[in-house]
Symmetry: C2
Amino acid sequence: MHYPDPAIILSYFSGQKMRIVFRFVLPFLFIFVMQPFIMPLPAQTLPQLNLMPLPAKVELGDGELQINQAFSVSVTGHDDPLLRRAAERFLSHLREKTGMTALDMSVTRLPPATLVVEVEQPTESVQRAEEDESYSLTATSAGARLHARTALGAMHGLQTFLQLVEATPTGFGIPAVSIQDAPRFPWRGLMIDASRHFMPVDVIERNLDGMEAVKLNVLHWHLSDDQGFRVESKKFPKLQELGSDGLYYTQKDIREVIAYARDRGIRIVPEFDIPGHTTALLTAYPEFASAPGPFKIERNWGVFNPTLDPTRDATYKFLDALIGEMAGLFPDHYFHIGGDEVNGKEWNGNANIREFKRVHHLATNDDLQAYFNERVERIVRKYGKTMIGWDEILRPNLPKAAVIQSWRGAQSLADAAKQGHRGILSAGFYLDLVWPASQHYAVDPMPPAAAGLTDEEQKRILGAEACMWAEYVSAENVDSRIWPRTAAIAERFWSPQSVQDIPSMYRRLEVVSRQLDGLGLTHNTSYPIMLRRIAGEGPGSDDISNLRTLADVVEPTKGYTRMKTAVVKPTALVPLNRLVDAARPESVTTRHFAEMVDAFLANPADANAKSNIEAMLNKWHAAALALPPLEEKSFLMEELGPVSQSLGAASDAGLQALLHFGENTPAAQERRAQQLAVLDAASQTRAQVTLAIVPAIRKLVEASAGEAATVPPSK
Amino acid sequence: MHYPDPAIILSYFSGQKMRIVFRFVLPFLFIFVMQPFIMPLPAQTLPQLNLMPLPAKVELGDGELQINQAFSVSVTGHDDPLLRRAAERFLSHLREKTGMTALDMSVTRLPPATLVVEVEQPTESVQRAEEDESYSLTATSAGARLHARTALGAMHGLQTFLQLVEATPTGFGIPAVSIQDAPRFPWRGLMIDASRHFMPVDVIERNLDGMEAVKLNVLHWHLSDDQGFRVESKKFPKLQELGSDGLYYTQKDIREVIAYARDRGIRIVPEFDIPGHTTALLTAYPEFASAPGPFKIERNWGVFNPTLDPTRDATYKFLDALIGEMAGLFPDHYFHIGGDEVNGKEWNGNANIREFKRVHHLATNDDLQAYFNERVERIVRKYGKTMIGWDEILRPNLPKAAVIQSWRGAQSLADAAKQGHRGILSAGFYLDLVWPASQHYAVDPMPPAAAGLTDEEQKRILGAEACMWAEYVSAENVDSRIWPRTAAIAERFWSPQSVQDIPSMYRRLEVVSRQLDGLGLTHNTSYPIMLRRIAGEGPGSDDISNLRTLADVVEPTKGYTRMKTAVVKPTALVPLNRLVDAARPESVTTRHFAEMVDAFLANPADANAKSNIEAMLNKWHAAALALPPLEEKSFLMEELGPVSQSLGAASDAGLQALLHFGENTPAAQERRAQQLAVLDAASQTRAQVTLAIVPAIRKLVEASAGEAATVPPSK
């Protein structure tokens, strides 16, 4: 059980202007306001504003600010072109959100205006990791004022304003409110792997829009790996010519994306992974490898042998030129060199390298890599950048300026901080593991392992990054793996640690997911398109309702099981067009169903709850019956037979449980046991998806007979 | 009853390689192949390929060409960069359609390849209206060959290939086929009005993608009108500064869009409407008006007074400079000067103009406008362009080179052709009238009025254009007004006149509509976003199911009734965010329901048909009951009360009719009469939408009692 920080709670109740607006507050909050204000309140009592991430402090006022076609914006104070453009985009978004096409799109320099935005000072010419991102936003029925030290803070405030806008009985508006907000961590990132599957510029740009909406500020762009080197090099053109299958970003693309990100208050940190994960690079330039070439772009997933030769000066000369070129292209102060997963096989197999280790007293390959990292760090530093690497680079002699990105666990983050390094956490935020949002939400960038750190050491933990590795995502479904879950992760990176209410998170996440639709993200729109492809296009293709009913209640196999459970070995050449690729990481239908089951079990006399459950089970049962004939139409449907059978069996078990609910006879006990066996079978992963509704149905079956005790809530 | 051209039918049955592939052919075709091949067949027997527009000649072969990750494309013959880029886009689309992310994206110059594309000659540097667009496409299980005279034809063939791709039980593939295709008309256009509501570049570009998919080749861009002048002028910058509300295309935008269109085989014809429809222009430069200014950008819809002064040399000097600038910006050989709807009020009110008319023997304002047009035509010609105008410009002295675009009726098109002018038809293709696709489909660009023309005169009819006037469309819903209906119109412009089978058209239209989704058109994706806005965003906003059920069976009020039935006068300042704006022009649900009703009435013993109808009626009835409580949440829901009441009443009438079907007692007769009265009431337009299902329910009610005779099919 988590309680909010008392300071935050107080801010909700001690403000001069504080009046409860019932439309925005859960009714039972009313009970609390009758009590002394200082008692700690459960997080559920936060006002029901559809904000994500939740601001540090919110005070609700009285009434609302109406938003109509007369709405206007002015920016005062420091005249930052960045802010002007942000205000123009804000107006565009507001127009899209309300459908008010005649909104005045011009941003004036002078009040009066409905929303007056004021910033005090310019941002740095190259955005820094620790700039002031705080803002305050106040709105009354007379107008709104957004104040920030920098344009960065103001941009965040504009996003908050947009999230506050809603249709009310009288028109569009935002509630009267006073918000003081600042991020908990300065480094709030999303890593996108554009190597394993290439992600075109429009994919990157729409995800930058999504990041802006939830106040993330770092795009960590994983640009080279065994499966592709994705940036045009003018100095080493074979990198893109031989190492990318023709799928790479031109330098013009890169500059465009950087400008796009900059406009949204987002830094771009490029990663060029060395000395391992370099098959594509060495396909182009085998002369820098630790083993004789030639090499071919890797089509499989995993850890591979090709590795740079860390013993030859030619390698460093090459890296100096390449890093120099890329350091010029990417203005950010940080430069990511990867450094992960060197398997050492080529090093062990190379007599020269073995000799080099002996001469230089490098006992292990880790020592050799540490030597490599130190030389690379000098190159990176020479070009004015700070080096980042994955936690493998953490070694005693690593210069303290280097930043550690922890992926293997939180301990290395704490270790790095203790040893004087700054660090960011990614362990626990791997989007490719297909976890539910709640599981990521429970991970804190300041992990329990950091509990023993001094304040100064803790300050070295800059933040965290969600990571979208791309073995099993393409341009088509990558959004559906990133969103909406990353909005919950963004809240973890931004909001006070005390914000922990999972039902509130999920409630707001559904709203944010729809807002992200409006930005052009395809996490929802690609879903029916992919299902239609599976069903086989043709007359009547509009009717994918039964397939969709099935797809709505399955989830892709989790963790690292995708490879293990594959019938056809997954490689870069295997299409991502199956149900497992279309299914969303987390079934919303299942969550709603589980809530219904909990409500019913808490009160089995509730006929309404019972009939809602019955309707859902019937719908699933009917879909399971309707699907088999469709399976013959398209080869992509074939594997779904066992899945629809499981759906039929599980929903039937649920219907039986409901029908005989509370019968405590030996026959009922027997039936219950049989149904549980059916559910065991239905819970197996088939076609690499799992039937997410089984646990909730199991709960229903378990409670249906025998000691039908009160059951604790699902989540 | 229409029959296909015997020449076309023969082509389906006389080919050497002709073997019927049953998967692609309606089973009852089998009956026909047993008969002599020369009999004319009803159009319904066309193979069930999901092609739109249907090609001129199709022969089906045996088997299919499998499409897997080894698929490759080469282009041979004339090396046209246009074709190379088209082939690359083709591969991209193929990748998106199949989800095969590892398709080789490179286009080679040399066979062998799965698809070999050959073109003979270059296209003109500026695409001409009458270039050869024909192509032939043959596919066997061994490979495919696409041959065309020019890249334009090859591009059309690539689109045909894409439409042929489908998922089969064994993988993706296209049927073995031989297609000979060429357009019926050289001018196949879509006009988009970007003045009344501004349409940003991305709207234009995605619609160009849609146009390419259905083989349209002219974007007529309506760029100036009373409500806005939408192009940057370097010579007359006040046009955009004062005449556009800041919403205009820069010259860079224009060049980008032109290049984008050119790549897709689409010409861009700009329209600058003069001498009427010039309020925005005259807001910037009142000195050229026929009445003293100042003027203000018009916010209302209709025909307004501000008009250029056709009597002063200064006006022509201005037009010469402006047309010169725009003629340089737009490379097309045609230049549209509008010329429609001059109300003459300013001319009548201006003594100088009256005097000018007297001196020049110009009896009427039409004569004065003819004088103006002749002078403008000389300017347009001076800049190397051919003038087009709306049918008002057709006057005896108009130079024969000028092209007439007929909007008031087909007669003026025939008249123009008789008088030596070339012409294009738009009467019957106004998308803003919200007609069903079948109504546009029934209009022929070679209208009955042209029946008496000689061959040479008929040749002057270049084609036709669908027109998207923008009073009631914004960037958000414009796609839903254009698509999918314009795909059916495109078939009318391209395919043989004999292609007339409406059920076939609708069946294919549903498939094409989904293909257009894949191109990023928003006619389907914007729908739930708009409904969610109406419902009021918030937790649970995912559940717009009842609102959607209602919206699925209503259609916006048709023709020019939107203004007449408005409660709030519609102007440029009134948002387009109501149900009438979200509802689609043609309810697919209603069409399916009407088909069910027809099937049931043809065989009332069909219990399955009956229960399907009942399920739909029950769903509507339930939605009608569920909606009223939601109407209080958002101001945009308020007007829906009477609509959901109508839905409830109409579906109840249908359910009663079904329950008592065939009872021929006086009580049943009485009930029937009551139900018909209920339906009369439910058929009224409310909230500017009509309940599209009423006619089909009426048919059910009418047949339910009394002389329940056999009823003819709905459509």
